[in-house]
Symmetry: C2
Subunit: 357 residues, 2 copies
């Protein structure tokens, strides 16, 4: 309930709302600990409740902490049911985290004249972007599991192996160590496809001399991790080594610069300048990183346009890259916790352009 | 381009729109063949274009078929850029598949007075719910890969094994045979947790006599599959056998009833009546099934409230279940194609409550 209290403290006491509707699935998980809900309603005066269809009703009763569990029966309309409850609670100013345009319009119509509706998703992100100790424990575990997967990537990548076979070995190792699933679609992109930052994982056979970008993440208790290494199947060329060293240097400099209150765009600039100075600036085609947690892409954003500042308890990726069309790409990425002193890496501190012999 | 033509035929010729904005990621994949796009704009007069951020720009240029590729540069606002283009094309009535309330409001504001904006996602679903031969080929492959995973489930489930270990073996087998990833989070829910339809997959050890619900799906070339079997670790009890037989009979009767033009709610009723007649109606807590394709839950819906009719080329799941809190659950599911004659199963025709000895 600390999380709900923190939300209502801000939304109700500071901002003058008297109700908060949560409908984003990750936000519901964050506040209730339970997956599979339809939505959650937090009134200023009255009992907090989650709404759930019959398929997940029994599970919600067993798992939703500190919330009443209301069944949305067959034939009932969720938006109508919610609107009735909002009126019964006499909520005048209802915050909502996010809604599709269709649902927003329907709800606003039902509430017309009695309750004002306003998008306030940022108030939830203010909480979610700062991880508490319980969350950090789970994220450390997710990082360890991801590291186990990457260890296997270095073992199995060699000329003649297919990309999806590598993915299979990585995911198998993560599962063996207890992971709940992958945090996103595993990327094992080799050769010219490694120049596409989201090159995926195909039935392509990895060839001698291919750059291979391996971007993976394990999920543990709903928390995610994100890690990339780039390696060469066979002996790296001088050009591959040069680009790798630039990216790795940019990543390390950015990592060293991570500290509380730093502007996120400055951390991006540290990496970007390193790559620009080496003459590859135009090939670093994305931001430096992003927050990670219950989702794999969260605030804060580390990029040239970011207005965010880093805060203690943020968990972010540091992932510069250089992508040369027709040649291949290099990206190196770790997930790190912003801490009082030096940042803490959740993914392991092993870097090499060469697979195991 | 056949898919774009089918859309514009309906939206432009029949409904009087003169532009269509596609922003749902699966819809973009459906029309362009390319992942990672920001949106796609199809004008009645002018060139079709996809909009993409720099991170995926090169990949879109290589993979987006029959669309111009427009880069959304750093610092550019996508909604503003789109609104400008809509005005340049003199689009007066713009259909859009779906948008968050925030984006809809912003776009409507930019277009005010010049272009009417209207949600028309159903026009895309009219196309996507009927799979063409190319799609069916990919879905058959996804079904085969899922079947390979299920084969392994029957091999490895025994007392003493952990749920996530089973999931790891299943996913590994699917990957070995060439799958692109899982269609959804693998469910291996045993014992009392099997009574939760979405019980997930934990570090629980499977015990002798546990019911184990295994609900899995492989993805192949972005197309998904969905299959459930329920088995017992060890020797099934009489009650487990009785409930299994009821569910299996309900599933087979519903499968036999699948035919073009059938009301979806009637197929649901066939299964539901079988379970009700056996005295377990109140424990079948969800609809009978759903469409599958680029997403794992699509139209049409097979449930008591459904207004859908089945059509040739629909791909749907048939998945009745009975869930007894404190005892366990049973669900049996296949993915099937609605065809002129008998429906075609994409997942295999093997059913057993008993694991391999």
């Amino acid at each position: 309930m600390n999380r709900v209290n923190a939300l209502t403290q801000n939304a109700f006491e500071q901002k003058g709302f008297d109700g908060f509707l949560i409908s984003n699935e990750h936000n519901m998980l964050y506040f209730t600990g339970c997956p599979g809900l339809a939505c959650a309603l937090i009134p200023k005066t009255g009992a907090n409740a989650v709404y759930v269809y019959s398929v997940n009703y029994e599970q919600a009763k067993a798992e939703a902490e500190c919330f009443e569990v209301k069944l949305v029966k067959r034939g009932e309309n969720l938006i109508e049911k919610l609107a009735k409850q909002v009126k019964a609670f006499k909520i005048r100013k209802l915050a909502v985290d996010e809604l599709s345009h269709e649902n927003y319009r329907n709800l606003a119509k039902q509430l017309r004249g009695e309750t004002r509706l306003k998008l306030q998703g940022d108030l939830v992100w203010e909480l979610r972007r700062v991880k508490d100790e319980e969350e950090l424990k789970l994220m450390r575990k997710a990082g360890e599991l991801t590291t186990e997967g990457m260890r296997v990537a270095y073992e199995v990548i060699k000329p003649g192996v297919k990309e999806f076979e590598v993915a299979g070995e990585i995911e198998y190792a993560m599962r063996k160590h207890g992971c709940w699933g992958t945090a996103f679609e595993t990327i094992v992109a080799s050769g010219v496809r490694s120049a596409f930052p989201h090159g995926g994982c195909t039935d392509k056979t990895i060839r001698d001399g291919d750059l291979v970008v391996v971007d993976i993440g394990a999920t543990y208790c709903h928390y995610r991790s994100d890690m990339t290494r780039t390696l060469v199947a066979g002996k790296p060329s001088e050009k591959q080594k040069r680009i790798y060293d630039i990216v790795r240097l940019a990543q390390d400099k950015a990592f060293q610069a991570v500290k509380p209150n730093a502007k996120a765009k400055i951390i991006d600039a540290v990496a970007r300048k390193t790559i620009e100075d080496a003459g590859y600036g135009e090939y670093f085609v994305h931001g430096l990183g992003h927050g990670v947690g219950l989702e794999v892409h969260e605030p804060p954003t580390l990029g040239p346009e970011s207005k965010d500042r880093l805060m203690i308890g943020n968990v972010v990726t540091i992932e510069p890259g250089v992508y040369l069309i027709g040649f291949g790409g290099v990206r190196v990425e770790d997930t790190v916790i912003v801490r009082k002193g030096k940042a803490e890496k959740l993914t392991n501190d092993f870097y090499s352009l060469e697979a195991e012999k």
